[in-house]
């Protein structure tokens, strides 16, 4: 690691982004359940209440529709709210404000307003919290024009992308995988941002492409490491943003390797994997040696028992074997 970096967790990287953006802009404020005194259930907002006080770090009652509705109103009238929804499973209660209001107000009013709102929320299974606290619902929001959807996988990306999200004039939903908060990685010192809408070629390779989102980067890397020992070189692309989608990078890679697997923790049906498969088929059909393969969460509610839950989420083993069948 260079002297311009340190190793910190995703939790700390997000926390730093919030500190820096609140410092930069007085209009930025935080709102959410248990984010102040408690510092958030995942401790991501620790220290912010002490530093910025209760007028800018607002502990709210349990009222997702109300909180997001207020944030929409505040965003349209000159403020930059950053709302935390504890689990993305709870965005269902605020879905009207996200889908019918935040996403559409600019368009419906003929471009008269902007809604510079960020909703931070958590996704991901693996914590043994069963069907209502483990979903990955990012594809839902990517379906809606007018919203941006970001889902970083590394500390450096989490920090840089959250800063971009807060500076963006559009509603951005920022998904944090709850199992990755302790994930460590190098983060540049000092000010930087990462643009929304750019995928990251995490590792380059010639034999096959794995396109992944959020925490699915890690089993993908594990599988790629094993394949490397067998002389198979995998290109790994971390999407980082699913809306807007960096099609160009994906298609270029598909054209190069001719074999593509998409891995995402959302339900497999009608989700991110399907959309990416379609885009690659449209953009690189003549270069493909076989259909685009997909691994998503099993189409069942996330179960509680570890033996059951683990079975529903794409694993390094699955990724490994799918790629083996592809390239052999």
């Amino acid at each position: 690691m260079s002297t311009h970096e340190r190793t910190i967790t995703i939790r700390d990287a997000i926390n730093e982004a919030l500190f820096e953006e609140m410092e930069r802009d007085d209009q930025v404020f935080l709102m959410g359940e248990d984010i102040g005194v408690a510092g958030g259930v995942f401790k991501v907002t620790s220290g912010l209440l002490e530093r910025y006080g209760p007028n800018r770090v607002i502990d709210t009652p349990i009222a997702e529709a109300g909180i997001v509705g207020l944030a929409v109103g505040a965003a349209m009238t000159g403020m930059h709210p950053v709302v935390e929804i504890m689990f993305c499973d709870f965005t269902t209660l605020a879905s009207d404000q996200i889908i019918n209001q935040a996403a559409k107000l600019r368009y419906m009013t003929g471009g008269q307003c902007a809604v510079p709102l960020v909703i931070r929320t958590t996704m991901g299974a693996g914590r043994r919290t069963a069907a209502q606290h483990s979903q990955s619902l990012h594809a839902w929001f990517a379906h809606i024009p007018g919203i941006k959807v970001v889902l970083p996988s590394t500390p450096a990306d989490a920090k840089g992308l959250l800063k971009s999200a807060i500076r963006d004039n559009n509603p951005v939903i920022f998904f944090e995988d709850k199992m990755m908060y302790n994930q460590k990685g190098p983060v540049p010192k000092g000010e930087y941002t990462i643009p929304i809408g750019e995928a990251h070629v995490y590792r380059s390779g010639m034999d096959a492409t794995v396109i992944c989102t959020s925490s699915m980067l890690y089993p993908s890397l594990e599988a790629a490491d094993r394949l490397k020992e067998e002389g198979i070189h995998i290109e790994i692309i971390d999407l980082r943003t699913i809306k807007p989608l960096d099609e160009r990078t994906l298609i270029k890679s598909a054209q190069k390797t001719g074999h593509v697997l998409v891995v995402d923790e959302g339900y497999q049906s009608f989700g991110v994997t399907a959309e990416i498969a379609a885009r690659i088929t449209e953009g690189a059909f003549d270069y493909l040696d076989e259909p685009v393969r997909r691994l998503g969460a099993a189409d069942v509610p996330v179960p509680f028992a570890p033996a059951l839950e683990d079975m529903t989420i794409p694993s390094a083993d699955q990724i490994y074997s799918v790629i083996k069948t592809m390239v052999s």
Binding site: A65, G73, G110, Q112, I196
Partner: protein, 345 residues
């Protein structure tokens, strides 16, 4: 207030103010009638929810507001936005789906907004403008201005969760918002008694510790006075107010709904309370309005409405490609273009 007092010459409103209210109520009624005519003629499409009968509520309310105060409105919002300052011609252009409409033809009847006058949107989702208005009020407090935010909504909206969350949050944080419920006794086909067991909205708001009163929504002066008090309270930092204005929809839910579920006798009874007729009577009694001036007002409004229709008809139909614009803001917080555009294949 007894009848005698009510008919007394108001000392808090000038002749000009009262005539402006009268004119505005007439304008709204004329607007709705004209919109209906051209809707039925097939020139205007979509849904058309008319506010005929309810004019006193938005006119009384907005007469107590400043240009920089905010309002949110509903599917039945023509009267609300006209009262806050929208122009007839650009509203018609919007109803006609033309480029000169307030929303460039992208919103239509249910979504008229004019941010330059604090009209931060009418809304097609029942109750969803209420938390948005509370958010605007929160923003007012954070930015330290003395604006206020008004949320207009119907009786039907009070059964939605958003209504209750919004009242609770407004009360908790004491933000400068005024809830104006236009209780026209119907939510589509459902009478008020089917929306709430007790029907007492004042008590309901008070249970959130929000000062509340019910006013005669067929009396523009009563509405104005109630809102004016609420505005004073909000501007001086004393938090939200809830106002129920009892009123009546003289027509069906939208153009095309005959409103067969509204009993004839009930309709007749409310028509007798018509707010425009009432103010006309009062203005004449106070010597503020002659038959001649009254006729002149009617003629002027008729001309304004006809001009508005002509303006809408001759406004350019949007280029189909325009459908793809205004989804996102394409510049960052410093006004620089966003980079992402280049990644779309």
């Amino acid at each position: 207030m007894d009848r005698k007092n009510q008919e007394e010459l108001p000392s808090d409103l000038t002749k000009e103010q009262l005539l402006a209210m009268y004119r505005k109520m007439q304008l709204i009624r004329g607007f709705e009638g004209t919109a209906k005519k051209y809707f039925e003629a097939g020139e205007i499409g979509g849904f058309l929810h008319l506010s005929v009968g309810q004019e006193a509520v938005p006119v009384g309310t907005c007469s107590a507001l400043r240009k920089d105060d905010y309002i949110t409105s509903t599917h039945r919002g023509h009267g609300d936005v006209l009262s806050k300052g929208c122009e007839v011609k650009r509203m018609f252009a919007e109803l006609y789906g033309r480029t000169d409409g307030y929303c460039k033809g992208k919103g239509g009847s249910m979504h008229i907004a004019d941010f330059s006058q604090g009209i931060i949107g009418a809304n097609g989702i029942v109750s969803s403008g209420i938390p948005i208005a509370v958010g605007a009020a929160l923003s007012i407090r954070m930015r330290g201005t003395d604006q206020v935010a008004v949320s207009f909504f119907g009786d039907g909206a009070t059964a939605e969760g958003s209504f209750h969350e919004a009242l609770n949050l407004a009360s908790l944080w004491q933000v400068p918002v005024i809830f104006v419920c236009q209780n026209n006794l119907y939510a589509l086909s459902q009478p008020w008694s089917h929306s709430a067991r007790d029907g007492n909205l004042v008590e309901r708001a008070q249970s959130y510790h929000i000062p509340a009163e019910s006013v005669d929504g067929m009396d523009v002066i009563a509405v104005y006075r109630s809102v004016e008090k609420a505005v004073d309270r909000a501007r001086s930092g004393d938090g939200p107010t809830f106002i129920e204005a009892r009123t009546y929809r003289f027509m069906g839910h939208y153009v095309g709904d005959p409103g067969a579920y509204m009993p004839e006798e009930e309709q007749e009874e409310w028509r007798k309370k018509d707010a425009i007729a009432k103010l006309r009577r009062q203005l004449k009694m106070w010597g503020y309005l002659t038959d001649k001036v009254d006729e002149q007002i009617a003629t002027d409004i008729e001309a304004e409405l006809q001009d508005g229709i002509e303006y809408a008809r001759s406004s350019v139909i949007p280029e189909p490609r325009e459908a793809l614009n205004d989804v996102y803001v394409h510049f960052d917080y410093l006004g620089r273009p966003l980079k992402e555009e280049s990644n779309h294949a």
